[in-house]
Structures are given as C-alpha cells and as structure tokens.
Assembly symmetry: C2
Homo-oligomer: 687 residues x 2
C-alpha cells in the first residue's frame, strides 16, 4: 500500500453549496471528524474509514489496459473508466453486465499494480471501484474462504493460487429451484464411480436445478456444488457434500458438455447481478474434487467423516456477518440521503408566509430520528459482534467454546436487523416523497407500485392531517352540544363509554430490556415443558410465533447493551457522549413502544409510562438531536461517488442534479419517439 496515501475526509464543510445545508453543518454541536474517528476509526473496526479513504484516493502511476496508455490516476473513485458510461439506470441489462465485468477486471488490475495485499482491503477496493457491483464478489468473499476452511491441505495447495489469481472464478451453488432453506433436501446428486475414480454429477429433476447462485449464469467457470453424495452404490447416502466443478472452458468460456447454464429471469430492476441456473447431466469430476477436510472418500468408495464439523458453522457465521455488513452500508446510505434531502427541501407555508424546511416538521422527525437512532444502534452492535468474531478466530479453544453464542447472535442479528433495515429504507423513501422513487435518488431499488401511492396525490400524513382537522371540528360540535347534526362516521364521539388505572417509575433501560427478555424466555421455557404436543418438534412449531418474538427481544437486549457500553466509552469526549446518549434514549424508547404489550403485561412499565415516554420524552429528544442530524449522517463519510444520489449529494445541489439526470435520459434522444412517427404516418403495423 503506497505511503503517500491520502486519508483526509472526502469533504470539508465549505464544499457545501446549499446555504441551508451549510447552516445545518455549522450549527452542529460536535466535530464530525472526531465523531467519525470515534465511531468508525481503527483497523479492527469493520468500517475502518481511514483505510477506506486511502483506498478511494490512493495515487499511483499505472498502466491501463483499456486504453493502452500510461497515466497518473487517482483510484478508485476517480479512475477514468467511470467516465465511460451513462448512469446505471440507463443501461440495458447486457450493457450493465459488460460494464461491471470491465470495471471488475480494471479493479483487479489496479489492486495488483498497487500491491494491496490485505484481503479485506482488496475486497473494499473492489467494491468501491465497481460501485458495489464487483462481478466476482462471491468468489473473493465466500469461495476463497470456503477453500481455505473446507478443502484438504493438498487441495488448498493447488486451488488457492488459482483462485487468488482469478484463473478459477467460482460461486457457491447450493440453492435449488425446489429447495433453499433446507439443504438436507437438495436433490443434486454426486454418485461415486469406482471404476473411473470419479463422481458422476446430475440434477435429476426439474426442482434439482441449481437456481439463484450469484454470478453463475454468465460469469464463473467453476462452482462449489452442494450435492447429495452416494457411494459406493447409490443407496448408500453420505449426506450433502461440497464439490468443485468446472462448468465453463477456461479458454473459450463455453459451457462444458453436460452443462446447461444461464441467467434466471429478471430480479427487481435488471441491475442485480447475474443470478444463474445450472443443470448437470452426467458430468464427471475426479474424486479429488470433493472437499475433503470434513469428509473423505477413498478410491474404494469408503466414506468417512473427519475433522471438526463445527468449522462449517464458522463459515456460515463469517458469511452472515459479511451480509449484515453489506446491508448496513445500504442502510446508512439511505439514511444519509433522506436526512440531507430533508434539510434542503422546503414545503408548506406557515402563517408568516414562510416555507418550512421539512426536517423541521415533527412528523418528518418522527420518521427519521428513530430510524437514525436505530441505525446507529445496529452499527454499534455490529461493530461489537464483528470484533468479537475476529478476536475469537485467533484462538481455537475460545472459538469453539463461544461458537454456539456466536452462531446464535449472528443468526438473530441478521434476522432481526434486516427486517427493520428494510423498513427504515422504506421510511427513508417515503421521507423523500416523489423524488424518492427515482433510481437517481439512490433509494430506489427499494420501491414499488403500491408505496408509489403513498406519496402520489398528497403524502399520507399530510392527508391524515385533513382528517385530524375534521375530527377536531366535529369534537368542537360535541363540546358545543351541537351534536345532533354529527356525520354518521363520527357519531361515536358523543356516545357513552367504559374505563380503569396504574403507574410505575423507569429505571435503567438495559435492565428493563434484560428483565423483559428474561421473563419471556422463562415463559416460553415453561410453555415448552408443559406442551401437550406429541414431540418437541411439534411443540416448537406450535409455539414458533412466540419463540421468534422471544428471540427478537433477546436481540434488542443485546443491541441496547452494546449501545449502552458505547455511550460509556465516549465519556471522555463530552460532545460525542452527549449526542450518543440522546440517540440511545430514542432507540430504547422507540423500541419498547413497538412492543409495549410485553412491558406492560410483564409489569415492567405501565401503559401511562410508555405513553409519557412516547408523547413527552421522545419529542424533547427530537428537539435536542435536531441540530446534529445532518452531521450525524455526514459522519458516515460517504463520497458522492459511493452515494450516487441526486438527493443526498454533499453540496446540496439537489434540483440541479435531478434536472441534469433527467436530461441525460436516453429516451429523450428523439424529440418524437419512433412509435409516434409510425402512428402519425399510419404505419403502426410495421412496428
């Protein structure tokens, strides 16, 4: 890694062009860079911003094969290749695919020339360079890891160099058309043939077709095939094993005999990589192509398990953490975009005839501040979890002792945070109104026809305020004893009703969530014991809804504790500790109000207390956090190149960017679309 690397923040406050955004940044109560370093600095931090900054901008003298010339370029963000194409949303599927392959090879080329040896750093460089569309992501992030952990020493010795140098490009082929979650039911077969000392591979049914594996359709030349092993005769099942299978010729990239491979049908928009399908008909591979670290087949077809099967869990944990990491980056992108846009967008007249910045509306704050607090909670807890994982990996004894917890936490963290992250991304889209639907907003690939309706013809909460106004007027009628003329739908406003009371005092949030989790787990444990189901399996299925709820509560407990610790860590940085504490309170209150039944039913809080927290404490916290919202997302330290958003750009020139992007739309190249020329000429039939 070159010494002269530049690790400064991507922007300085005075890069801001929009005066409103500038005011936000100037009014912040803490220093963004100090905060960013505290949260995301350090080489053991999964977000390690200093290294990321270096990777984005390292200068180097290098040779570009794509234009056959020498030049001095700033990588990865300013590489000239990025100037060779329209915005992604304007490319066809094939154009987009070709571009990503080109960029991916250029990135590999650069990494080699820059001699970036740290694997994690290489991965980051690839991702940044190719705008998170690196074509060989699964190969570099999962497959190489799998070879290291599941292949025998001899296999590693031969395979790793080939994989590291991209002569072998592989993907992980597990999911089938008929089965994904339950790998025990995979139908792809590997039958050992003693006479030729090889395996015969088949996808014997339609549903056995490998379906979904990333970059399998058009990109890879090998797959790590998960298949049912049968040896020596097909009645002797040895369970699912992993096989390295070449599917394309290394020279011509042609699919090999017996291999039917292609891309599946379109996901979302077409820009979601290259998911493939694969059918195998009597494809033969040598016996040595089965990964033999945890299982072994000898030349007589004798099957033995060996090594520590828990290594498989380790691999899964690793992949799960990487997925969470990627998701969190998508999440903070959405937050950065929505908050910045809300600071430059004005809408609605106040009585003095002035327009209001939408970030100043409590309803907008109710959307964004709990979301931002939750985002920070997830980041903090993930950083803790990720560090914990890598620490453990340095000592096998610790590792295997802690593996069950690690597995449970990574499962729960993935399951709990991804659903909520999806929700937050949707909230960010709604918070950006109509412009949030544009792919150019950077939010979009998250959106759909129905939620389009949420902003069309009036934002939902704007319309609901109409209803609110109406109800207040009707209530006034009732108060004025003028309720004879009440409309039918509000007649109930004047009917008699029925009522009763309680109250408690709030202590420490961590203890509160811990107590609640404890009670839920005790409760479910009891239910499982008392269960009259015929088997533990049935009992589990029967109680699964509440069990999942219990698991979520556990994850909330884990996250809130991690957040609490981080607030403590910040004590020596007063301004940072203060804002983190405010975020902590918002996350805690927002989270408990969403499952308030638990807390009330378990007598930990009264409904009145929760109402007090929600209706008094939260709004006060919003006011306290208000001056720091923009800098809290600036701290994610995105370069506009990474954010790729007209709404979220650092300088705040939102409308100029939207207009420019619209004019770039290739559909506008004809003043009269060809179809209309045909219509006007009455030649429609010729189309």
């Amino acid at each position: 890694m070159p010494e002269y690397a530049d690790a400064k923040p991507h922007y300085r406050i005075n890069d801001t062009k929009n005066i409103h955004l500038l005011a936000e940044r100037q009014s912040s109560t803490f220093d963004v860079e100090d905060f960013a370093q505290f949260m995301f600095g350090g080489s053991d931090n999964p977000f390690d911003i200093n290294t990321r900054r270096q990777l984005s901008f390292v200068e180097v003298h290098l040779f570009f094969e794509y234009n056959l010339s020498f030049c001095l370029a700033r990588l990865a963000i300013t590489h000239p290749i990025h100037q060779t194409h329209l915005p992604f949303e304007y490319l066809t599927a094939d154009e987009h695919y070709s571009l990503c392959i080109r960029k991916s090879f250029a990135a590999i080329d650069a990494v080699n020339r820059l001699n970036i040896t740290n694997r994690k750093h290489r991965g980051w460089f690839y991702e940044i360079f190719v705008n998170y569309y690196f074509s060989f992501y699964i190969h570099t992030s999962m497959c190489i890891y799998a070879i290291e952990n599941l292949a025998s020493e001899e296999q590693k010795h031969t395979l790793l160099p080939l994989a590291e140098s991209f002569q072998i490009i592989a993907t992980y082929a597990q999911t089938e058309l008929g089965h994904g979650t339950d790998i025990r039911r995979l139908e792809t077969e590997a039958i050992f043939d003693k006479t030729t000392d090889s395996f015969i591979l088949n996808t014997p049914t339609l549903t056995a077709t490998k379906f979904w594996p990333g970059s399998m359709g058009k990109t890879v030349n090998h797959v790590l095939l998960m298949a049912q092993l049968y040896t020596p005769d097909s009645n002797h099942a040895c369970g699912v094993q992993m096989f390295l299978v070449q599917i394309r010729d290394l020279k011509t990239h042609q699919p090999l005999p017996g291999v039917e491979v292609g891309e599946i049908s379109t996901r979302f928009a077409h820009i979601f990589g290259d998911n493939g399908y694969l059918r195998l008909t009597n494809v033969r591979i040598p016996r040595t192509q089965m990964f033999m670290k945890l299982a072994h087949v000898d030349s007589n077809g004798n099957f033995t398990r060996q090594g520590d099967a828990r290594l498989l869990y380790g691999t899964m944990v690793h992949e799960r953490l990487r997925l969470i990491n990627t998701t969190l980056i998508a999440l903070i992108r959405a937050m950065a975009i929505a908050v910045r846009y809300s600071a430059v967008r004005f809408q609605g007249l106040n009585p003095s005839g002035k327009e209001t910045r939408i970030l100043d509306y409590p309803l907008q704050q109710e959307k964004l501040i709990p979301s931002l607090s939750t985002t920070y909670a997830f980041l903090i807890a993930f950083i803790k979890l990720d560090r914990y994982f890598f620490q453990l990996k340095t000592n096998d004894d610790d590792y295997f002792r802690e593996l069950p917890q690690l597995h449970a936490l990574s499962c729960g963290f993935k399951g709990y945070t991804l659903s909520i992250s999806e929700r937050i991304a949707q909230i960010c889209r709604v918070a950006c109104g109509g412009h949030g639907f544009l792919v150019a907003s950077g939010l979009v690939t998250s959106r759909n026809g129905i939620d389009g309706g949420c902003s069309a013809e009036g934002d939902n909460v704007v319309l609901l305020q109409q209803t609110a106004r109406y109800l207040l007027k009707r209530m006034q009628q009732v108060e004025e004893n003028n309720s004879g003329s009440l409309h039918s739908s509000v007649a109930y406003l004047n009917l008699p009703l029925w009522l009763p009371p309680t109250s408690l005092k709030l202590d420490d949030y961590c203890r509160l969530f811990e107590s609640r989790s404890q009670l839920l787990v005790k409760e479910m444990f009891g239910k499982m014991l008392e269960s009259t189901s015929s088997s533990p399996y049935d009992a589990f299925i029967q109680n699964s809804i509440e069990l999942v709820h219990m698991a979520k509560a556990h994850m909330e407990t884990f996250i809130i504790r991690a957040f609490y610790d981080q607030v403590q860590n910040a004590r020596q940085h007063v301004s940072i500790a203060l804002v983190l504490e405010q975020l902590f309170y918002v996350y805690a209150i927002h989270t408990l109000r969403n499952t308030s039944t638990d807390f009330v039913r378990l007598k930990l809080l009264s409904a009145d207390q929760i109402y007090e927290l929600e209706s008094r404490v939260l709004p006060d916290l919003y006011i306290q956090l208000r001056p720091n919202l923009v800098t809290l997302v600036d701290a994610f330290d995105f370069h506009d190149f990474e954010l790729d958003s007209c709404l979220g750009r650092y300088d705040g020139q939102v409308y100029e960017a939207l207009m420019e992007r619209a004019r770039l739309n290739p559909s506008n190249r004809h003043k009269v679309p060809p179809i209309w020329t045909s219509i006007k000429q009455g030649t429609l039939s010729k189309l």
Copy 2:
C-alpha cells in the same frame, strides 16, 4: 356490449394441475363463486366482477389495423397482440413504451368497435387489455373528469368530443420540481396579456419545472396546467388556476415552440410509465383556454371567482378513490400470489421424514392471515366508501352536506390504507422467499436490495428459531443450576428482576374501537385547547404526531364498523358469514395489538387480555381459516393474464413456469456473453 358475453369464472377447480393446490380447493368450506358474487358482484360494486369477466372475454368480429386483416378474436385477454412480445421485464425502456402505446391504441380501437359506451367499463377494458399499463390512463380517468367539472359549458362543448375521441390527449400538470404537496407555492406563471387577449405561460425558475406528471414526457399533446394567474399586471395575483395548454403538434407530435418536454430519470424499473418534465418559455394560449367554471377572466383582465369552489374537493375525492381502487387491485394480486405459492411450496423435514407445506407453518400463517384479513377489511370498507360517493353524486344537496365527511374519509382512507398495503405487499414478498424477488413472481417491483437480504442465506424467522433454540438450551442450564458457565449475552437470564397487575373482559370490537377513538379525539381536543403555542397552526404542528395517530384510529374505527356490517349482511349465507366472521376477528385483534398502548392506557383492555387474544385466540382463528385460504384468494377471480405471475398461476405449475421464464431471458441468447469473448481474445479495450 354484445349480448353473448361470457361471464363465467375464469377457472374451474379441475383446471388445477398441482395436486396440493387441488386439495386446498376441494377442502374449502364455502363455494368460491357464491362468495365472489356476494363480495364483488353487482353493478354498483367498484369491482363488479361480472362485467369485468365479460370485458375480458367478449367475442367479436373485428378488423385489426396491426395486421391489416379480418379475424375473430376474443378480447381483451386473448387478443393476438399479446403474443407479439417477450415478458415485460425483458423489454428495454423504449420497447416497453412502444408496446404499451401499440396496445393502448389497439384497446381504443376495440372499445370503439365493441361499442362499449359505459365510461367505467371502457376504463376497465383499457386496463385489462394493456395489463394495467394503459398509456392514456390519466387522460381518460382524470382529465376528462376535470373538463366536465371545471370547464365552462362552452368549453365542455368544444373540448369533450375532442378528448373522448383522443384527438386531444392530456395529462394533469401540477407537481413541480420544487413543490408538490403545497400547490399554493407553485411557481409556473400565467400572465394575462390584454393586448392579445391571451395568457403568457412561463416556468420562470429551475424549481418551477413541471416534474413527474404521468405520460407527459412522450405521450400527451396537451396538459392541464396548474399555474399562478396574474392579471392585468403581474402584481395582481389571482391564485392557482387550471389552463389547457397544447404542448405538441397534433400532426407531427413535435413539441411546440417554447416547450421543452422530456422524460425524467428512471423510476423503479423502467416499466413505470412515462413521467415527464416540462419547461415553458413565453408560450401563448388564448384567454378562453383557462377553465372558467370556478373562476373567470374577461377580456379586460378582470378576475372573478364564481360557482361552488367545493366542486374542486369533489374532483380530488374522485381521484383519490380511483387511486385507492388501483392500489387495492395491486394488493389483492400480491395476496393471491403469496397464498397460492405457499400452498405448493414445501420446505423443512418433520421427524417423520415428510416435508411441510409452508402454508402449514404458524409463522407463515402469522404473515399471511392477518394480511389477508386486513386486505378484506380494506376491500369491504372501500366498497362502502365508493358506493357512498356515487350515491351522493346523484343529489347535490346531500353531496355538499356530506362533502366534508367524504373528503375526510377519502383522505384518511388513502393515507391509512396505502402505508399498510405497502407493508402487506412486502410481507407477501418475504413470504415467497427468494423467488419473490423475481419480476416474474408478479410481486417484485416492490422489492429492494436490503430486503433481498431478508431471505438470502436463510429466511429471517428460520434463523431466529436458531436463536430461540439456543436460548431454550441456556434456560435449561439455569433451571439445572448450571448457570456458572452461561455465555455473557445471556447472563441476564439468571439475574433478579422487578414486577406488578390488572384485568378486564372484551365486549364488542366495534364499540371498543369507537371508545378508543372517542377518547383519543377528546384527549387531543383538550391538548389543542390547553396548548401554549403562539398560534393554532403551531399547536397543530406541535401535536401533529399524535394527531395523525388519532386520525389512524378513526380510520380503523371506520373500517371495523364497515367490516362488522358486512358480516351482518352475510347472515343468510351461513358458510360465507362464518368465514367473514373469522376474518373480522383476525383483523380486529391484529389491529388492536399493533396499537396496544392505546387500549391499555385508556383502560379499555388489559395487557393480559391483549396477550390472551394474541397468543391464544389468534392462533385458533388461523386454524379455523386455514382450509379456506386458497379459495379466499381464488375469490378475487384473477385471470392468469392479469396476475402475470409464475408463483400465483391458478394451475400451480410454479416450477415449470419459473424455468420456462428463465430460459426466455434474452441475456441467454449467447452461450458466451460478448464481453467474455473480448476478454478471452484480449480485446477488452475495444469495448
């Protein structure tokens, strides 16, 4: 409308090919057709299935301009034009646009030849024919309505025939780059010029650019322009008025002088219609092109308001109801797809070695049954609201008396149901796992990168069950007083905690929701009175979060009452009443548990009661509803053509459909993608 129209259901049970789906249909406790007729029959029903069936299949002898020949065709679904293209997701933006225009003209052509005179029926025919991509939807649904209600009699007399015959094709141009929600701040100007008796139109700033109007970019030749009227001199503001402005030549379709028009940047995938931008520079239109029913400008530039301004509200209500209607159709499509797929998808081994149908998992039922119940609640309440609207329109006195309620209900209904509908569509996507991401699932344009992660590497709830298992094991440790070795994240399981009690009995759900709404409205009314804010505006803004909550509660009250009435209406059909009642209970309980703090705080229910309802009553209801889930979505009576889903097809041949669709992917036409040929030939640079 031809007499011999066929109004039978699209399918009969024995059209089912998948045996599991067949079993579901055979086990239903009610007759689908009876149910469908009860829910959606009748010409005053907004879904009027009988007419829709006729429109889908009417036979007629007609002339197709697109192939210049005579033939006997069955419209709209079986029209030969539908055989002329790949699935939509494989078309480029321009191909998709041209196809929709072609189909739209073919649909208009057919409507004329079929002599379908009822406007509502014509609209349905267009939508069905063009797979809900009818290119002139805004023209036929909104603009013609606006001409009728906002143009003067003379204007109507000239404009209506031109609009009805598609010589004038218009859209509604309100939203600007800088303003949407708050139309008072629109910047587009219409300045009256006395000397030429005309208006001079300008978009004087960047943010004044008209941005988003549907079909404006490439399709329409006129716009209904919302602009600030100034007369006689530009200091005399007359507020926002509506002007009919021609933007393209009727013969050549060329933009007129002073008009810059084009498509904005990509929304979602590119298949979302033709949203446009429009900039006007000194465009002149005659004075008579301003809509003069509610406002008037004479040749001296004197401005007067006239007529009943409340007509504007009526137009907005009408458009809002149509939007809700469209959204509900998207919602029931998603439900139909998710439920049918869940009945044919098997995953997970039980101890007896059998696989489980995913619809039999309580966690899948927890996803789909509350969603389906909510969907029916929305349908029922919307049918009531829509009927109410059309009844009122027959009598001006009733209409204007009820308009405030109509306005409030339509605002609230749109605001409340669309957010939840988006959520349900997402739940349906998650319920279909990975295959739910395919555009071919019919669910997709609803999905994004983050929620992609919700199913990747294990469904969230499947993973959470891992955590649950782990927690049970740890709890066992505690019970066995073996807690010394507890992992840190579960240490709290063995710590002391703190507790207290209440209880009440549930009466009638309608009264319960009514009482809660009443209390909330009273409470907010009191808060507004006591407010110390400087102005009512500030008080409203300050309390807006709770006011919106109050409005939502009101809508829930409205919906639950409508649902209750429908259950009563069904009393004479025992089997129908039974299933509706079950759906009613699920909706009521699911809805109250989501805002349980209200009910507990207001002493209407205890947390224990809510827990009882959620943990005991709901699961029982799931079991009762289980045999009818498939037929409850069959009752929506979609033809596969309309559903356009590999997962939701009536016959259940899901995997065959997915594989066929994948093989159709045009990206598979090359066995070796061109980019790889270049790579292998070392000619990457030439790309």
